[in-house]
């Protein structure tokens, strides 16, 4: 399954939902879309608006590919579960977010060249990229998260020392 998710942000992300609907209508992929506040309703695939986070985690775990805006929750979970992630950042100029910080996140991740995470910036690049990832059948081990360990340590230490 390919799981498409755009998170909880109050602005919609119709560009991604509409393009994925179009791609799914002419391909054999089993696509499920979490459309959030997007107003476009897909015609050729299953979709829903929101689910409790545990359900979203299950969908991600069961996916061969996740396609998402540059949302932090999705990036964290895909890395943790070793699921390939294709990021298509929201843009301010299309009314998809208040700032272009998602482009910055995508660029910062691109610089790190992590092969679990692919990034496209234009809708017309999505279809080729999806095919490339699905056909490669790559499997990933869950990512080692040293940042998480360090943060937990720093917070614990501070709590212990505080009066």
């Amino acid at each position: 399954m390919i799981f498409v998710t755009v998170g909880n942000h109050y602005q919609g992300f119709n560009r991604l939902i509409q393009k994925m609907d179009e791609i799914a209508s002419r391909s054999p992929y089993d696509v499920l879309i979490q459309k959030g506040y997007s107003t476009y309703c897909p015609r050729s695939v299953r979709y829903f608006d929101f689910v409790p986070i545990q359900a979203a985690m299950d969908y991600i775990r069961k996916s061969e590919l996740v396609i998402s805006h540059a949302g932090i929750g999705t990036i964290i979970l895909c890395r943790e579960y070793g699921i390939p992630l294709l990021i298509f950042p929201r843009r301010k100029k299309y009314g998809e977010h208040g700032t272009d910080h998602q482009v910055e996140i995508a660029k910062a991740l691109e610089e790190r060249s992590d092969d679990r995470i692919s990034i496209v910036h234009e809708e017309n690049q999505l279809e080729d990229k999806i095919r490339e990832i699905v056909e490669s059948h790559k499997k990933f081990a869950p990512a080692e998260n040293t940042g998480r360990k360090n943060l937990i340590q720093a917070i614990r230490t501070f709590i212990e020392k505080s009066q």
């Binding site: 998170g7 909880n8 942000h9 608006d49 929101f50 689910v51 409790p52 986070i53 979203a56 540059a70 949302g71 932090i72 929750g73 999705t74 990036i75 964290i76 979970l77 890395r79 700032t99 910080h101 998602q102 910055e104 996140i105 910062a108 991740l109 998260n145 040293t146 940042g147 998480r148 360990k149 360090n150 943060l151 937990i152 340590q153 720093a154 917070i155 614990r156 501070f158 709590i159 505080s162 009066q163």
Partner: protein
């Protein structure tokens, strides 16, 4: 034996909530409660207080601030920890100035080069201020720390 400090955990829905769950281990062994927004994604979690989004107009803002005050008054945590976003602001200011709580703020990993509004707002009163990208350090003062990020 030392009495375990109570921790108040505060975050909005979405990535902030996922970041909070990722760091749950940091609070193991401590009594704690979570304060978050009422959304489908955050529903039905034990030990959790729910708030309507405080930026849905002035009435929601005042109601939200009063509710946060009552929760802090009832729970009296020693430490507040937040992964953002704006829901942290009233809790941190009330906690600091009315209850002398210690404050830990983790800037969201969505902020690579630019500080968030909430981050800038709570930075002056926060005791431990963590960012998740090194380039962001120079946009904050000397108090900001980088030890790693979640993504």
């Amino acid at each position: 034996m030392e009495k375990k400090k109570k921790i108040g955990l505060i975050c909005s829905a979405g990535g902030h909530y996922t970041e909070m769950l990722q760091l749950w281990e940091a609070f193991e062994g401590h009594p704690k409660f979570l304060l978050t927004y009422r959304e489908v994604a955050t529903m039905n979690r034990e030990g959790t207080y729910y708030l309507e989004n405080i930026f849905h107009g002035p009435v929601a803002f005042v109601k939200g601030v009063v509710k946060v005050f009552l929760i802090l008054l009832k729970e009296r945590p020693s430490v507040l920890f937040s992964t953002g976003s704006e829901i942290a602001a009233p809790a941190f200011y009330l906690g600091k100035f009315l209850f002398r709580m210690r404050l830990i703020y983790l800037e969201c990993s969505a902020q690579v080069y630019q500080p968030s509004l909430t981050g800038r707002f709570v930075y002056p009163i926060t005791d431990l201020f963590l960012v998740q990208w090194e380039p962001l350090l120079k946009r904050y003062g000397p108090k900001a720390k980088y030890v790693g990020g979640l993504i």
